[in-house]
Amino acid sequence: MAIIESEHRRDEVSPERLLRDDPRQAANKVALFQYLAVAVFIFLISGFWKLQVQNPDVYSEAAERNRIKSTPILAPRGKILDRDGRVIVDNKASYSLLLNRDQIKPEHLPAIAQALGLDYEELARKIRHMGSTPQIIIKDQLSRDDIAWVESHQDESTYPEMQLIEAWRRQYPQDGFAAHVVGYVGEISEAELNMPQYLDYQQGDIIGKDGLEREYDSVLRGVDGQQRVLVDSWGRERQAEETQAAVPGKDLRTTIDLDLQAVAELAMADKRGAVVALDPRDGEVLAMVSRPTFDANKFTGRISRTDWNEIALDPYKPLLNRAIQAQLAPGSTFKPIMAIAGLESGVIDDETHFHCPGGASFYGHYFACHLKGGHGDITLHRAISQSCDVFFYNVGNRLGIDRIAEYGELAGIGHKTGIDLPNETQGTMPSSRWKMRMFRQKWYAGETISVSIGQGAVTVSPLQIAAALGGLGAGARWYKPHLLASEKPVLLREAHFNPENLEKVISGMYGVVNEGGTGRAAVLPDVKICGKTGTAQVAASSLTKGAKLKSALANNAWFVAFGPMENPEVVVAALFENGEESYNAVPIVRDILKAYFDKKARKAKAAAEKETAESLAPLRLLASPVPANLSFPSPEGILQ
């Protein structure tokens, strides 16, 4: 019945009309819509797949960065100590200002720079280069005013990116005391960031820039910790998360003796040049001074450009560590090496005598002796103690340059000593091979004559000559000079000289000090001191080049001395730039040697007293625990 009815209905309306109102007509369009819907959902689900399943770590880390605000806890650098554990370089608590990258607004920077006295351009450049580092320290050692300003301007409505953190300020001895040995720290530079050895460092890190600070940066620097706080999107702190404590850097025990260093500093106070004192038995450096010096406290952290320019553009180059970087003619201090070379090669013996009329001619050139009147007939012992040039001209002439070079290099001339300080220079020990390599020229025999008295092409640093003569005095054994207390002695070279020959040279050097020689001012009452003076003419060296200094062409004064004569414990080399006469360098060395042996005696006495006190137990309280310190000012006095 129903079917009939419906057929009847179909008859009523035209087939066309029916077709038009039949939803099935759109069936394929509906199907199309269904496919479209499937596509849309696949599109959406693939979006979630990509974010949630393929690389969820990227986003969970991003979420962590969002919610965890981590503030660095800066690790203090290790202290630098002297051989007795006394502090040379310390840290002082201070405040630094850092900016949180996420909150930095470029329009805030001019105001911040102005209030804190920073250079806006420099600050803006730093911010641009900070990359993905979450924070950047923009100022260290905030003053009271700075701190007050930051505290009153770090709320939401002003400059919320600012954050104060506790930091450690490096505290160096004042007035440039030991500045060249210790070095200084500074902010890592763009160039350093690109070097392979600074791979783990990032922008804003403080690193050792020179001296021990640089050499032992990895020992001294600690590992910064992190304080982690849960924050919401408005920067409000919700709760503290686990904190990673900072690991402080290790202290660095050096071989420096503060007492000796203090004396050396005082002795060089108003001079230009350098002093090195070391123990020839193991290479431990006891004192090292270079003048002029600089105040490393100005360098700690982020140095201002004017301070930097003042130091870096000084014509006397205070940043240069002359003790290891000067390359100057050694003058007559080279003669002991000539003497041993002459004796060992058999070209002379202690009986060989030459006549010195005040000069001599070699190869058509006249070479003068420093003593115009001449030394007359002279043998080795007097030739060393009186520093006769003509005698050594003849020795040199007999040896020839290559044999001189052989012995010079044995003593370490022309080679880096390998001391644990950056940027040591190697100086020059000329030879025919050296000249061919450097200038593609033959060596002329006439050139040997100048080298024989430590002039001409031969150049050394104070450390090199100290090590060379000290090693000679200690039985022709040369140890590597070093500053790290825990380093084992390293024997670099050893020569098996005839002991008698060695004794003859050392005896000549004894004469320099004790027999009215050129170094007589260095005589000490209880210790046999041996030494050798030097007066070196200043050729156009790298140090004087370009410097319009009147006195720059005055002779350099040298003195190298060791003691005691048998088994020397200490060798000191002093360079007094433009000191005119060699005897001007002698008192510097004398002061240091005296301080060394005084201290030794004092220690022995204290030990003896202690022994006595222990054997007389009831009287122990009467024994003085601290030895009197009378012979020189205390280093602490200078440090303050």
């Binding site: 599109f43 986003y59 979420a63």
Partner: protein
């Protein structure tokens, strides 16, 4: 009409699969709103949403009982009323976040543009039924576009680009169903591509920013790109199984913008992970397919147009909102149907589902 109500009032005749999917999505929505707004200034939003859902459900029942032919007969009046209401909103409405979208009636605020969707669905259905032709001609298409265009422009002026764009799928879907020629479709698509760059110049600065930051969110990570980046981080942070309701830091520490309305799905994705997302999206797919099924079983073209209009609108909403959450669509600020918190949208979706049910209840009658 009264007779119709009396006859089809049986509750069990409703499209129960549709109703169950709808209520499941509403439940997910309420739970997510509760979790996302805990201890924030919106913390009452969840029970309000329950109220909207319950009243919306009642509205669906009422709408299902009204014969859609009756509504179609009055479509033009409804349309004119809507346009007038939009104008009134523009003049008298409340300004919130810089745009005038809401109008106050008896203590409640309504987003007029949401209800316009229903009327447009009815109007398009009515118009296309009245053409009585197999294919759609240029003239018809232009008229239809004019009808849809007027409220679109009014809503765009509010300004509310997102909602105004939701009117487009109603028009496009209707035109396709009514037999739009492929040739025309290609021409229109081509024209759109040509005119879009010109249209870009008429956008408000913030709308331009949104488009630019959609293409390159990292360009300005603190500005408009922020929402996209943070939403993607939230989604990615969810991982496969989700962070749960306690560990979802993006949601709870305020990194997600409006985690209970436009970005509810991103907070859902963070808490329930990929697995939760797939379940929710499958529910949406079932919902839309159920609506399409009602279109297929409709007794006349008007019913088909209504159901397909609703289906197209829902698909568009899901595509744009969820696409925005994963950074695959620009930020337009349109809600996710049934899950996002908000009365007007919830009611309008339920009313549309009411229309679908109305079509379904009359599928055996001619």
């Amino acid at each position: 009409m009264i007779r119709a109500l009396a006859v089809y009032r049986s509750f069990k005749d409703l499209d129960w699969p549709l109703v169950i999917v709808t209520l499941a999505l509403c439940t997910l929505g309420v739970l997510q709103i509760y979790s996302a707004t805990l201890a924030t200034k919106w913390q009452d939003a969840w029970w309000k949403q329950i109220v909207w859902t319950a009243t919306g459900f009642a509205m669906m029942w009422v709408a299902a009982n009204i014969d859609y032919h009756v509504l179609l007969g009055r479509a033009l009046y409804l349309y004119l009323g809507c346009v007038a209401l939009l104008l009134a909103t523009g003049l008298l409405g409340n300004k919130v976040f810089g745009s005038t979208r809401w109008i106050r009636v008896a203590g409640f605020t309504f987003q007029t543009s949401e209800f316009v969707k229903i009327v447009l669905i009815l109007l398009v259905a009515k118009y296309l039924t009245d053409i009585k032709a197999d294919t759609l001609e240029w003239k018809d298409l232009a008229k239809l576009a004019g009808f849809v265009g007027v409220p679109m422009l009014l809503v765009m002026k509010e300004p509310d680009l997102g909602t105004s764009l939701t009117y487009l799928p109603i028009l496009v879907c209707g035109a396709l169903m009514a037999g739009l020629r492929w040739k025309y479709l290609i021409i229109i698509t081509g024209l759109l591509f040509v005119t879009l760059p010109i249209g870009y110049h008429f956008l408000k600065p913030y709308q331009k920013d949104r488009l630019v930051s959609f293409i390159n969110p990292d360009r300005d990570p603190k500005g408009t790109g922020f929402q996209v980046i943070q939403s993607k981080i939230a989604v990615g942070n969810g991982g496969m199984w989700g962070r749960g309701t306690k560990e979802s830091s993006q949601t709870h520490l305020g990194f997600l913008p409006v985690p209970h309305t436009d970005f509810i799905f991103s907070s859902f994705a963070e808490e329930h992970g990929f697995v939760g997302v797939v379940i929710a999206l499958v529910l949406y797919f079932l919902l839309i397919m159920q609506v399409v099924q009602n279109a297929q079983t409709a007794t006349d073209k008007a019913g088909l147009y209504i159901c397909m209009g609703v289906a197209a609108l829902l698909l568009f909403h899901v595509l744009v909102n969820v696409g925005m959450v994963v950074g695959r669509m620009p930020v337009t600020g349109i809600p996710l149907p049934l899950m996002s918190s908000g009365g007007s949208n919830t009611w309008s979706i339920f009313l549309m589902l009411g229309l679908v049910n109305s079509v379904r209840l009359r599928r055996f009658v001619n």
